[in-house]
Symmetry: none
Subunit: 528 residues, 2 copies
């Protein structure tokens, strides 16, 4: 059985027995019963955690490194229950620290992770080979137009990302809607005039009822990313925002500090802000840099970066670490040396304080960064964009009405596009029409129409996202896992997650069908 293997560091008293404590953890995190009350052979075998190894690390205090393996099914493959499995009840105990978690690929397949990741953000911004430079809108209490002026100056100075301070909300003294409209307009205007692309990330920190209204609003204004504090809002909400809305996610560590402030108990920062935040969908994870206002070591920071960016985590994309918290221009050299190009420098107060002219200050910071990464390119690359989701950039116009032409079998304002661009994939005589979802709509789904000529077929593939298919014309065959269905006009088919499937034209006429999919979705793999 594939297992989730959690490594704990456990400190015990001289009169305690490490084996007993390990077994108690394995019970506490699963059945919550004493050993003797669990009778079922199935539960003993498949539910209770298995202590895999116990190694003494230190004599005084008595410190052990322990690995316990858990059945991934216990997590229900959702983030709230995963957090419970990791640290729900034992958080209430003492002297148990999680220092590593290894997830099997079969578990990771249930997660999307970063929708953009490093590659997607570089593709979107056209910045390769150097760190991105980011700052925060502050201080809380300024008027929206004052924040917009800051955003404009930062953009004119060539900065890459400007985010709300995570304390900016929809307060009586700082209206969210006005701030977001003005700040997004500021960066868009600079882009239109100068070609300098600066991303603006508003802070999403609202009541449950307002989450979608807020996100819809930002989406309509063409905002491309948001700041989320998963431990203020709920960690799963971050994943949802990424998956459902396709925003770039910058994750803020607010309220996470007690997990790692005490070395003997909690979850290490590298696991939480590195591995878990990446799993939960952060494209950029902000963490307190060494040498700043907070107390991380250089090794911890490097490890967070590695867990985000380079360490394998199933097929999940690598994400940017964003060292922050009291960084100044003098830290750039060290960060350049230790972290390389794949990080986001988040510098707030020190940039604002560097010069009263923020545009000038930003230019100076950008020049300083260029000193260490002088070969970076700002031209688009020909590197193939391997996107999980091909998030909506299309040159088609958003249309309220697309007239169907019976003769051409096409819609007004929509041209067919290539079915797939990868020549290694086997398909035949099939075209694709992107009808809605890629033209500036903010729906959570895309509506496409496919047409297969006689003897043609789609690629045999599988993916986590589901298909809903509506046959429009002709006759075709759907292979779906072990099943085969004949599709005639208006028949509907549903392809469940991770089910290999293929469509073929089985008649002498054109076979046409709609296919609806989640807007944010994983990349197909071969069906076999």
């Amino acid at each position: 059985m594939d297992t989730i293997d959690i490594t704990y560091e456990i400190t015990i008293r001289a009169d305690e027995d490490i084996r007993t404590i390990c077994r108690e953890i394995a019970l506490e995190q699963t059945v919550e019963l004493p050993d003797e009350l669990v009778q079922s052979a199935f539960i003993r075998k498949s539910i209770i955690g298995k202590v895999q190894s116990i190694n003494q690390v230190n004599e005084k205090p008595h410190l052990y490194s322990v690995i316990i393996a858990y059945n991934p099914e216990i997590s229900g493959h959702n983030i709230p229950q995963l957090l419970n499995l990791l640290y729900g009840n034992i958080s209430l105990k003492n002297n148990i620290k999680i220092v590593n978690v290894a997830f099997p690929d079969s578990f990771l397949e249930h997660f999307f992770g970063p929708a953009y990741g490093i590659s997607g953000i570089r593709q979107l911004t056209g910045i390769w080979g150097r760190p991105l430079f980011s700052t925060a809108l502050k201080p809380m209490g300024l008027e929206p137009k004052e924040f917009a002026a800051i955003a404009k100056s930062f953009a004119l100075g060539g900065g890459d990302i400007i985010k709300d301070d995570h304390g900016l909300d929809n307060q009586s003294f700082s209206n969210f809607y006005e701030r977001v409209a003005r700040c997004q307009d500021a960066v868009s205007t600079v882009y239109a005039k100068t070609g300098q692309k600066t991303l603006y990330f508003p802070n999403i920190c609202v009541n449950f009822e307002e989450i979608e209204r807020t996100l819809d609003y930002a989406k309509r204004l063409s905002v491309e990313g948001v700041l989320v504090s998963p431990f203020l809002m709920g960690a799963d909400i971050m994943r949802y925002i990424s998956k459902q809305y396709g925003f770039i996610i910058m994750a803020h560590p607010a309220l996470t500090g007690t997990f790692f402030s005490y070395s003997a108990h909690g979850i290490s920062a590298t696991v939480l802000l590195g591995t878990l935040f990446r799993l939960f969908g952060a494209d950029i994870s902000v963490y307190p840099n060494t040498g700043g206002r907070f107390g991380f070591t250089l090794d911890e920071c490097k490890e967070i970066n590695a867990r985000l960016a380079t360490k394998p985590l199933g097929k999940l994309k690598g994400a940017f670490g964003a060292p922050a918290g009291g960084m100044s221009i003098d830290n750039i050299e060290d960060m350049a040396k230790h972290y390389g190009p794949d990080v986001v420098y988040l510098i707030g107060g020190a940039l604002h304080g560097y010069d009263t002219n923020l545009e000038k200050a930003t230019k100076i910071f950008m020049e300083k960064i260029a000193l260490y990464f002088n070969e970076y390119k700002t031209t688009p690359t020909d590197k193939q964009f391997v996107s999980a989701c091909e998030i909506g950039h299309s040159s088609s116009k958003l249309l309220e009405y697309m007239k169907f032409n019976n003769t051409s079998c096409m819609w007004s304002g929509r041209q067919p596009v290539l079915y797939k661009t990868d020549s290694n994939i086997d398909f035949s005589k099939i075209t694709r029409h992107e009808l809605t979802g890629k033209n500036g709509e903010s729906t959570s789904f895309d509506l496409r129409y496919f047409q297969i000529e006689p003897n043609g077929y789609s690629s045999f593939e599988k993916h986590v996202h589901e298909h809903v298919i509506i046959c429009l014309k002709g006759e075709g065959m759907l292979k779906c896992g072990q099943n085969t269905y004949t599709l005639n006009p208006y028949d509907i088919a549903y392809v469940p997650p991770s089910t290999p499937h293929q469509l073929k034209n089985t008649s002498n006429e054109t076979f046409g069908f709609f296919c609806i999919v989640d807007h944010v979705r994983d990349q197909p793999e071969k069906g076999l």
Copy 2:
């Protein structure tokens, strides 16, 4: 100005200055800038926290009690931002412990707190003058029917509340839907036969997308309360569930432990599990009792109870504390003596282990409780149960294939449902078929088919979510904002966010169209 007054205990080194550190906290939790960079008189006066008092508590180590007052507007009156104001960034520092928070009434007026509280739960259950007795369904890994047998035995034994273990989810080995149906049926059946009212609380620990589907399901089965772990799900989700669904909320402290495991840093358990959980809507707050598997003191437990039940918190109702975690029959006497009647005894393993006959064990526990509270009453109540939110649901099966029938214009396995249930809304001659999205699929969209007979029309409405419409048959008219479109087969229309719209049949034949919408979406309002 009314202020939120936070009391911190701060431990400093001999070479540190307490005044400087207090000012740093007041800045860090608000403007996140050094003092000298904040120019605005308004911000200095109204945004930055005000250090109210500094008192030395201890010489070695240097421990101070400090009160800082904050403008309540900073919280935006929402829970995520309140958590940030309380402990967002300073959680990442060290040696700062929150030991008290005093909220002004003007702030508390923005919150509902416990929907039932002690009075409401006593009213509903008819139990006065004694503690309620609760247990958990465990161990994880049992079949739903085995859990239902446990629930039945507990109810027959006279127990008051049986909740899912908080690790029970919708796992492959433990289907949520079947478990909830069977367990609720078990307690309902006992009630119908014997008049013994036992409440069953399923655990809500799911993906964001499934929160409402799960709650709707429980509501339909007449479940009256739920278990929520606010730090697994997001604290504001607990408030939302209480406010929107009217369930009794039992709050579980999973994942909160690091806030209070270290005495020098964090948020005290009394503030978090007492004051804040009550503010966030807990009717019952589970906490680790003294003398159990976890390490609280008796004074801490009494203080949690007091903060939940009796200490004034604006107009918010008092809530039950639920001491738990390794409690046995031998703890009942102490709990009775120290806590009085207004608590819920939550006893899991010790009840299950007391006797293989759970009904008998429950009776013995109930008799033990009665020893200390022998005057309690059990009169029924006529209190009206208040519910909210009716997002569409159906009991249809997930199908891979739905055959279209040209004659009936229906799909196999799908029956038409009412268009809307609200008789105040004007529509005519229209039916709805829920095709995919409401039957266990996890798509981010729902596919529906609507059919309007001649002279019929849909309601004139608007909402933030968008519509994608595909005409299937007949001819109709779409009014969309200022525009009007004629729809013939296969024409596609897109209704932008917040655009008033209506569909009418303009021919003498049936007009049928698909309409695709986001699965999670806002409720429509009238178009005008």
